[in-house]
């Protein structure tokens, strides 16, 4: 068991390193299979970028589950909502978006992300209060009610933005590729990796260096104990839920620009991926979530290149393999 020294510094139990080697292992196994190093590098970077986006969307869900045992099937709605809010700024910022300057483009992108996170955060707050709060602790009802929330949110998006696909062009300077030697990398993917790493590191910082983070991690592990020590876990939970929704919104924006299209069904499609990632990583574990997201995205990219017919089933296959190895996912942090 871990002991608290001072100032919340914790002597952790020995690091479970086995899952950590999975991602590098997968990347190196893929190299001889693919053959050409430049293709391999391009695929790997694409996979990392995709993995980062999925991680951003999935991290909120896994924490929300770990903390209060709430499984939010409506999480996908926040992904679509975040993606659709970008259209609100398309017109006001159109000057910045088509400008050739990387700086202006980037600022416009950040503004869209900020707005999306704000709106999905607020939506998350109301979702938690109106939809989820009345059914705390009842799994069956939680699943039903959040599915209902997903349906309603999806339909409201159709009411507001119409049922047809909307194209969302990337800002001008973010388009195109950068060539290092004979490795071609899309610019936007690099940006995605950077944003993803920023989110991940700031999340680690919050979780491991602040008191709130300590409480969250403790709550995931044993919520009853934390409450017995006098902390108001529900208030903390709302904060995590709002943050998780905002992150889903952020992921939605990134994904929308990655695909350059918005469809009302995108939230549901992505939620399937998010679920697979969360199951692989182990419910409640942020680190497992990152590894799961990278594994899923890399596998999807590699199999998409090696055996396109298999690409669809690859995620499920991966999930089955991981569950055969560890039936509760890579890291099982919750005692439940």
């Amino acid at each position: 068991m871990s002991t608290i020294k001072d100032q919340g510094e914790i002597v952790d139990r020995p690091l479970d390193w086995q899952p950590l080697v999975l991602v590098p292992l997968l990347i190196f196994i893929a190299l001889p299979l693919i053959g050409s190093p430049s293709t391999w590098a391009t695929l790997t970077i694409a996979g990392l970028a995709m993995g980062m986006m999925i991680f951003i969307m999935a991290s909120g869900l896994t924490l929300v589950f770990g903390l209060m045992d709430v499984l939010n099937f409506g999480h996908g709605a926040f992904i679509s909502l975040g993606a659709y809010t970008t259209t609100l700024l398309l017109l006001p910022l159109s000057g910045w978006l088509v400008a050739e300057s990387l700086m202006l483009n980037f600022v416009a992108l950040l503004a869209m992300i900020a707005l999306a996170m704000l709106i999905t955060g607020i939506a998350g707050y109301f979702f938690e209060r109106v939809i989820i709060m009345p059914v705390y602790g009842r799994h069956l009802h939680q699943i039903l009610v959040t599915v209902g929330g997903l349906i309603v949110a999806q339909q409201i998006i159709i009411v507001l933005w119409g049922p047809i696909q909307i194209t969302l062009p990337l800002p001008t300077a973010l388009r195109g590729i950068i060539v290092f030697g004979d490795i071609a990398v899309e610019r936007y993917r690099l940006i995605v990796v950077v944003i993803g790493l920023t989110v991940f590191s700031s999340m680690l910082l919050v979780l491991h260096c602040t008191k709130i983070g300590l409480l969250i991690r403790a709550g995931v592990e044993n919520s009853e104990m934390v409450e017995a020590l006098g902390y108001h876990l529900r208030r903390l939970f709302i904060g995590v839920f709002v943050a998780g929704s905002a992150l889903a919104g952020l992921g939605g924006v990134m994904w929308a620009f990655y695909r350059e299209a918005l469809t009302p069904g995108m939230g549901l499609e992505l939620m399937v991926l998010v679920f697979i990632v969360v199951i692989i990583g182990g419910l409640g574990s942020v680190g497992g979530c990152l590894i799961g997201a990278l594994l899923v995205a890399l596998t999807a990219n590699y199999t998409g290149f090696l055996a396109p017919k298999l690409a669809l089933g690859s995620n499920i296959l991966l999930m089955i393999l991981i569950l055969l190895w560890r039936s509760r996912g890579l890291y099982s942090v919750t005692s439940r």
Binding site: V135, H139, G148, I151, V159, L160, M271, F275, I279, I316
Partner: protein
């Protein structure tokens, strides 16, 4: 006789019994009471959806586990029969063979899914079924050479069930007895038998154990019941019946495609019907499916009218567009989970006791 047929499980409410009797008579004599192909279509759809929703209720209502793969099993049945009829010609033999293959596939998938999720915890099951079902749906639309892709497959059914076939020379009660009506009765009686079988299952000792697991899993396990085994069995039973419902659907529609079987919307419909009708009682499936499918057509009609009235206003016409009826249903669904968790049937049964 009736007691044996219903496995000693009566509706226990006068209003409910009357409603069920009304639905039964309506469905049993649909070709004579409501002539016309459109209403016959609606009646057949209600029949196979009752079976489908009731088999879903075995999971969600009786065992307390939520599956999102039920439409997948329904689709497997539909595609099994459909592809067999398409490939091997319109004979009873191909229906039987297609059904058999579909059943084997369904049981295999149900076992695999159960193996990976049920032994850990029930909440895994919901997530894994959602993932598997969505991948299966994409797979079915990708394997165009087998399934016909997005267009699906249109095929012929055995001669006896085709509209061109006439059983008698004269009309019966003013209605010509053609193959279409025979096909309807094929669907109706199959649905009836399947429903009675399910009623038997839930009222057997096996069914009681399932309800015990739903109420208190820990206690059921402490009493010596292997909960994982029971859950896996009911998962397979439910999948088998959903597959058979899919076969009925395929035989009736003479068409199988993603829109009628594998779609996530179908899954949502099943969920809504089961919850609104009433979880934990098979009669809920009858009421849920009937009311939902009738409302589907009439509510959309009503919404079209409201949409016309509010034509000039902003947003409102969009809100009342007939395609947005799922929005209102979703709201109704959330409200009913909060306020009537036992659904219509539970409500009616409680009225009687208080």
């Amino acid at each position: 006789m009736l007691r044996t047929l219903l496995s000693d499980d009566f509706p226990q409410s006068r209003i409910l019994s009357a409603l069920l009797l009304l639905i039964f008579i309506g469905l049993a004599s649909a070709p004579f009471l409501f002539p016309g192909s459109q209403s016959l279509n609606a009646a057949a759809k209600i029949c196979y959806f009752i079976v489908l929703v009731a088999s879903y209720d075995l999971l969600i209502g009786y065992t307390g586990i939520v599956s999102f793969a039920h439409a997948m099993f329904f689709g497997i049945g539909g595609y099994g029969a459909g592809i067999a009829l398409y490939a091997w010609g319109p004979t009873w033999c191909s229906i039987a063979l297609g059904t058999l293959i579909a059943l084997v596939l369904s049981i295999f998938l149900a076992l695999i899914i159960g193996l990976f999720s049920l032994r850990v915890r029930a909440i895994f099951f919901a997530m894994i079924t959602l993932a598997v079902a969505s991948v299966f749906a994409i797979l079915a639309s990708q394997l165009g050479w087998l399934t016909g892709g997005e267009d699906g497959r249109t095929y012929q059914i055995p001669l006896v069930l085709r509209p061109g076939f006439h059983l008698f020379e004269q009309n019966v009660l003013g209605v010509p007895i053609n193959g279409r009506i025979l096909a309807y009765y094929f669907v109706f009686f199959c649905a009836l038998v399947l429903f009675l079988i399910m009623l038997r299952v839930v009222n057997s000792p096996f069914g009681r154990v399932l309800q015990a697991i739903r109420e208190n899993e820990f206690r059921a396990e402490a009493l010596g019941y292997r909960t994982v085994l029971y859950r896996s069995i009911i998962n397979c039973v439910s999948a088998v019946i959903a597959t058979l419902a899919g076969v009925l659907c395929a035989v009736w529609l003479r068409y199988t495609g993603p829109a009628t079987t594998l779609n996530f919307d179908i899954m949502l419909d099943i969920l809504l019907m089961a919850v609104i009708g009433g979880m934990g009682t098979l009669y809920g499936a009858i009421l849920g499916a009937t009311i939902f499918l009738l409302a589907e057509s009439y509510l959309q009609h009503l919404m079209a009218v409201i949409g016309k009235v509010t034509a000039g206003l902003p947003v409102l016409p969009q809100l009342f567009h007939p395609d947005r009826w799922l929005l209102w249903l979703g709201i109704l669904f959330i409200l009913s989970v909060y306020f009537f968790p036992t659904g219509i049937v539970g409500r009616l049964q409680r009225c009687k006791t208080t």
